[in-house]
């Protein structure tokens, strides 16, 4: 058990190291351009350039630069933005995190509940018109670009029909912290979260339906029928228990990716000041340290979350637990 845990830990450290090298290389070792010019931003003076070069050690060899950058990001956490007048980057990222976390949590409630419902109903009504309609809608849902859907939602709820009874509750775009007004927090996140969830509802409903139908062909399900189990027990207690493994692992991955910055487009369209929005601001001002910090923190979060999911997976499936113990 300890050995398996240690080996998993070793793998995680390896992946973390690989990712940091990858991201570092993308930002500071792309061939053919001077990173200090890009960090300093558009139209920076010679003095600023010189300062950047000295501060980041771009005159030193690459491994030294890498170590220095990691130190600035994770140890001293004093990476500063040159575009934004010396604003410290890491605290900015940590400050924006709760907004993103709220949005994604909200969205995941939507997408779990709805995809479970749609997936199960669709599987039970397999090959009827209702199944076909639900699956068609699901496919449509996962074919929509999320930023466009967000704009359409804004168009309807902020402008065209904002005064109609259906949407008069919609607050203006932006974020209200939970501490200031829980109700404002929830109302403000409802539509962005739903927009974010739409594609996932479609995807997860389809995955769950396919997995459920496959599980229902299992010998164990026949045994359950031979025991005299009714349809609800058959589908939920037996079928779902057999098929939700891949559903859960998929969820873990997507959740982590969204918290890590995948929600960027929704945050931009709905003007939510989350981590993704921060990245977006960085894009507009070409603020490389800021972007690199958000990407790096996102990747670290995703790796940690994946490790957590692996653990959860083992809890859910005794066979995997065994296999791992035997490692």
């Amino acid at each position: 058990m300890t050995r398996a845990l240690l080996s998993r830990l070793g793998q995680m450290v390896l992946v973390l190291f690989g990712i940091s090298v990858l991201i570092f290389a993308v930002f500071f070792a792309t061939p053919g351009s001077d990173p200090s010019a890009r960090i300093a931003g558009r139209g920076a003076s010679q003095e600023v350039l010189a300062r950047v070069r000295a501060d980041y050690g771009f005159d030193r060899p690459l491994p030294v630069q890498y170590v220095r950058m990691m130190e600035k990001l994770f140890v001293t956490r004093d990476l500063t933005s040159f575009v934004d007048h010396g604003e410290r980057v890491v605290p900015e990222v940590l400050e924006a995190a709760p907004v993103t976390l709220s949005l994604v949590l909200f969205a995941s409630v939507f997408w779990l509940l709805l995809s479970l419902g749609i997936g199960i109903v669709s599987a039970m009504l397999r090959d009827t018109w209702a199944d076909r309609a639900l699956m068609g809608l699901s496919l449509l849902a996962l074919s929509m670009p999320v930023f466009w859907l967000g704009e359409m939602v804004n168009l309807v709820t902020q402008s065209r029909w904002h005064d109609a009874w259906a949407f008069s509750w919609v607050p203006p775009l932006g974020y209200t912290p939970f501490a200031r007004s829980p109700k404002g927090w929830a109302l403000g996140l409802l539509l962005p979260a739903f927009t974010l969830a739409v594609a996932f509802i479609g995807l997860y409903a389809r995955v769950l339906r396919a997995e459920l139908l496959q599980a229902m062909g299992d010998d164990a399900i026949r045994t359950a029928r031979a025991k005299g189990a009714g349809p609800a027990r058959l589908w939920l207690w037996h079928g779902l228990r057999l098929s939700w493994l891949s559903y859960v692992s998929l969820f873990g991955l997507d959740f982590a990716q969204l918290v890590g910055g995948g929600a960027l487009l929704v945050e931009v369209v709905f003007a939510l000041p989350g981590v993704g929005h921060l990245t977006y601001q960085g894009l507009n001002t070409l603020d490389l340290p800021l972007i690199m910090a958000t990407v790096m923190y996102a990747a670290v979060f995703v790796v940690l979350a994946n490790a957590a999911i692996d653990g959860l997976y083992a809890l859910l499936d005794p066979r995997i637990r065994e296999a791992r113990r035997g490692l």
Partner: protein
Amino acid sequence: MSEGGPWVRLARQVLRRRGAVAAFSALLLIVLASAAAPLYAAWVGVDPFASDVAGTTIRDGREVDLMQPNDNPLHLGLTPIGPDWRLGPYAMGADPQGRDVAARVLYGGRNSLLISAASALLCLAVATGLGLAAGYFGGWVDAVLSRLLDILWAVPVYLLAISLSIVTIGHALHLGIVTIASDNLLIPVAIIALVYIPYAARPLRARALALARAEFVLAARALGASHWRILTREILPNLLDTLMVLAPLLMALCLLAESSLSFLSLGVQAPAASWGTIIQDGEGLIYTRPMVAILPGLAIVATVLALNVLGDALRDVLDPKGGRR
């Protein structure tokens, strides 16, 4: 054997599905329309790439300004002319720079389709190479490649694409003697292909792994066939069905990625258009001239949906049991 080769049979089976036929026709229509963009622009007489904020057009027999005084009291300044739903110049209105939206959407389709198709193909080609190597040779080759893919996979797809775009944008890439201009379409193609490699490589690796242990491969090996021969003659042909299922689904993902990057001004660069950049152009006009954003969005939805339906149909025919996403 039945009439026609395996391709004919496959096509016949796929086209027996009504949804697949509709999807295929829609796709064909979109591709043809996009290809005909210059014809359309010449026919209605507009230049979709030149800013024309002082220009005029003919509406109901009268000459009107492209940029009209704003009718919304909250918005100062000028608003581009709206759609008049009649075949002719500015049928779908003008964008903030006075350019014909309909013509730009057609031109944008060219870039969007080209980039997504090219990046899907490039991604599949690289992923096939990696998947074959990892699945067939196994051992340390597999271990190293799988870890590399894990690393790539751990960075959120869009963030990686954004990072790669931001460092290549506005600066020409000097790779030895080759210089790639920053507005070259190869850059978004390569970036999008790169970020989706793990997505495509995983199923291909699994399939290659299974094939490497298949009896006919062991038999070929026992007969002394070279690795190269086994890979190209025995395994690659059997990967074709997986590739064919992946291709449309991957192109749909690439199209969504391309439009997202372009929406963030990180993909296709002005004055060239893609569906994503046009939605970006329309963002500021969303409450007054929503058609600028609606039209390219609908084009994306239609194309992605058609690709997904087609991919589903291919999967049903080629691989009735397997496949997740």
